[in-house]
Symmetry: C2
Subunit: 216 residues, 2 copies
């Protein structure tokens, strides 16, 4: 019972920090979203295609979260956007305080979109508010169509679902309609996108949608 109480206290403390981040984003008119998925679903690839598509048109900053290595920050840095890498050293999710520390290392002036790429984990990051406007969950077709039902928390807490790697549909055991149906059964409000970063499809539709969320 004491463990549950402590966990609640940790989450309450996190929510307080998240609220501070949220106030900062609103003050600076930044649309911040939290990109979550299993390892290898394509978070960084979607991020790269997004930066490519919006390059020169929208001012974007990125916070990268990884258990280990700064590979993702290196990939993102090629697009000439401000990027900070958080290495959790074993930690299974980002929290609002880690994001708050990372924000101190970015000049937020004139930034319109902040993309926070979380640790690859379809379970734990669902419970941690970072102060973002929304969570965007990615699932790849190679993971099968049952994931929303097996990991409902993440789909329930997300505003959008990107179904990635649709170029691999002919080769994998995944029914696209079933996958969407399963996701919408958990969260009927999910906005869904279908993408491939290899054959580059669905990226402009996704980018048009996020651009609409930029704060005026």
């Amino acid at each position: 019972m004491s463990i549950i109480t402590i966990e609640r206290k940790i989450l309450a403390k996190n929510d307080e920090m998240a609220e501070m981040n949220r106030e900062l984003f609103n003050r600076e008119k930044i649309f911040a979203f939290n990109l979550v998925s299993s390892p290898g679903s394509g978070k960084t690839s979607i991020l790269e295609r997004t930066l490519e598509h919006l390059n020169g048109k929208i001012r974007i900053a990125v916070i990268e979260g990884d258990v280990q290595t700064d590979f993702d920050a290196q990939r993102v840095a090629k697009y000439n956007v401000p990027v900070v890498q958080i290495v959790t050293r074993g930690g299974c999710h980002l929290d609002a305080l880690l994001v708050q520390d990372a924000l101190k290392k970015i000049s937020l002036q004139n930034i319109q979109i902040l993309i926070i790429e979380n640790v690859g984990n379809l379970v734990c990051p669902a419970n941690y508010d970072l102060g973002e406007a929304m969570k965007v969950v990615i699932v790849s077709t190679t993971e099968g169509d049952d994931k929303p039902l097996k990991y409902p928390g993440m789909f329930l807490n997300a505003s959008a679902l990107i179904i990635n790697k649709i170029d691999l549909l002919p080769y994998v055991n995944c029914n696209l309609n079933q996958l969407k149906q399963n996701a919408l059964q958990i969260n009927p409000k999910l906005r869904t996108f279908e993408t491939s970063c290899t054959i580059v499809t669905g990226i402009s539709e996704w980018c048009d949608w996020i651009v609409k969320h930029i704060q005026k």
Copy 2:
């Protein structure tokens, strides 16, 4: 600081329970292994192909761990083996106590191999000993070749690595040699296997290897 202490206490308690499970496995001469991976890497598919291959030859029991649903237990039950489903209801890993409770629901007499399929998560299950003889980590080619470096804990704590979905290599951005090299850089003792559950390859090599671990 107090949080760290509590975490240590939880892990110490878990280790105590794990030791009890280990003693039970040794007493009953059961080779138990803990199957871990990201969601959708193919844990249940590898399990199904393993049950198919060893059917009638080796007496196997299965414990399934999932955040939600009993889909995996339903899939496994078709092979006429004793199976218990643990639903963690949001929990990101199995622990030794959950396994201990599940063990009470299986008749262990004459069981030679116990396969524990963990929750799909490449981070948290690395830290929890369930009393198993070894962890076996699965990574699929669709996740890319950098995962061992980005999620080192799991590869460090595993005895074997199954590289699954090798039939998809022509379609994905994954260098098989690089993936193996990255895994062996983290843990040079890893025994590696290359499998596909779709074109059914590598399964007999993997099964021959686990059969060698059966306690006499």
